[in-house]
Subunit: 260 residues, 2 copies
């Protein structure tokens, strides 16, 4: 059998998207992480010198990924975000695993999952994934519906973080939380109106799934009921509430702080 035909069976992609990656940091991480096959890198010509662009070209050549140059005007038309920074890549969509796969933390210590319950704004989702990866999240659960997919705006804002996270796409968040509970995972829902402080919860000893609600409505009521605990980050100001993505980041780093 010729080598080209000996492809490994395709991993499930479960349609999370992620096949167009925009922005310099995001494209560089796509290439260096090397977890997904990159088909092509497209660079706008006549840009100012940039170490990141040089690194992208080097990595692409090293991985035998074709690089093509287009005019700035054409890139503005073909890129799907305004923040492309003169480069995007076409690649395999993000592979997914199931919940059991996510819980296998692969030597990174106790599992630490992020469950997004209807985060629909792509920039919020991207920013949250970036913060989560920095805080040591090992896996992300996204609902197949009622969520932003890994669109170019998400890949751009996540700045490469998605290349280092594992994803599960589930039919429903409440059922997923039940399954996680059976596997011994403590699920901690974040809700600004909760009177229980996240700082009073022991996040050190068990696998944890942090559950983040959507921007408008927060946690769905069934999701809330399925959480082991529902907590808030105590607020000290006059304005109504913290940005949802920032609240998620503060919560992720609280898990990391307790586990340090």
């Amino acid at each position: 059998m010729p080598p080209a035909a000996r492809r490994a069976p395709a991993r499930r992609t479960d349609d999370l998207g992620g096949d167009q990656v925009e922005g310099r940091q995001a494209v560089l991480e796509l290439l260096t992480a090397g977890r997904r096959r990159t088909r092509k890198v497209i660079v706008a010509d006549a840009q100012d010198p940039s170490e990141l662009l040089d690194a992208i070209e080097r990595e692409a050549h090293g991985h035998r990924v074709p690089v093509s140059f287009v005019s700035k005007a054409r890139m503005d038309r073909e890129a799907r975000t305004e923040g492309h920074q003169g480069v995007y890549a076409l690649c395999d969509p993000m592979p997914t695993t199931d919940l059991d796969g996510l819980l296998d933390a692969g030597g990174r210590g106790l599992p630490f999952l992020l469950v997004c319950d209807g985060v629909t704004d792509p920039r919020n989702l991207g920013a949250l994934l970036r913060s989560a990866e920095c805080a040591g999240v090992t896996g992300v659960v996204l609902p197949r519906h009622r969520s932003a997919r890994l669109t170019p705006a998400v890949t751009k804002t996540a700045a490469g973080a998605i290349e280092h996270l594992r994803f599960a796409a589930v039919g429903g968040i409440p059922a997923a939380l039940q399954q996680l509970d059976k596997a011994g995972v403590v699920s901690v829902g974040l809700a600004p109106e909760s009177k229980h402080s996240i700082y009073d919860v022991d996040l050190r000893t068990a696998p944890v799934a942090l559950v983040i609600g959507g921007e408008e409505r927060g946690l769905a009521s069934l999701t809330r009921r399925r959480c082991t605990q529902v907590v808030s980050i105590p607020q000290h100001g006059a304005i109504e509430s913290l940005n949802a993505g920032v609240a998620g980041a503060v919560a992720c780093f609280e898990v990391a702080r307790q586990r340090r």
Copy 2:
């Protein structure tokens, strides 16, 4: 003397801007906080019903602030951000105080200052101010140069937080840190490359000034030398670094957590 001529002497504004406030939450907070005189509220006509817009109109009428309606097209031309959400206000610029004024926390407990050392991206500055206010920051120090002013993009992203913060504009951050040091304030600089963890610093007992550097270069070297301590937030991921605004938010909430 007729009443119209009996104006109170103008407070120092020190040119931080802030006289055009865009976005629904930001305009509502401007009116309800009532700290600055609002000259006019401009609303785009033919918008979908909105509780926030209704509340803005009610507050404006209650404070005898004229409300005028313009077409959506005209608002798109005259507003200075894309995120105006169909409303902006013209008002007095943000008043400023000096460092001594900032340290008078006005019954809100130990002073907790945020010092921005060259945060130039308006959205980063706005997001940081919003998170800081939620975490209980009592005053903000901005350099007169090398910083975003309180532009419409900042007021929009801060979502009203600036109406509840006090500001000092200083000629140089290093000199300001020296002055704060003499006043007994512990200044804690945030630098991703520092080996000292923020979690090992006692932030409970003394007034604290958290010092956040610019997006590209971080803390200036003289600023760094003038900080009482330079710390980092321990990172656990593969990607290079946390977004500067998110790092600032996590640090602000660590001060709040220790002081709870």
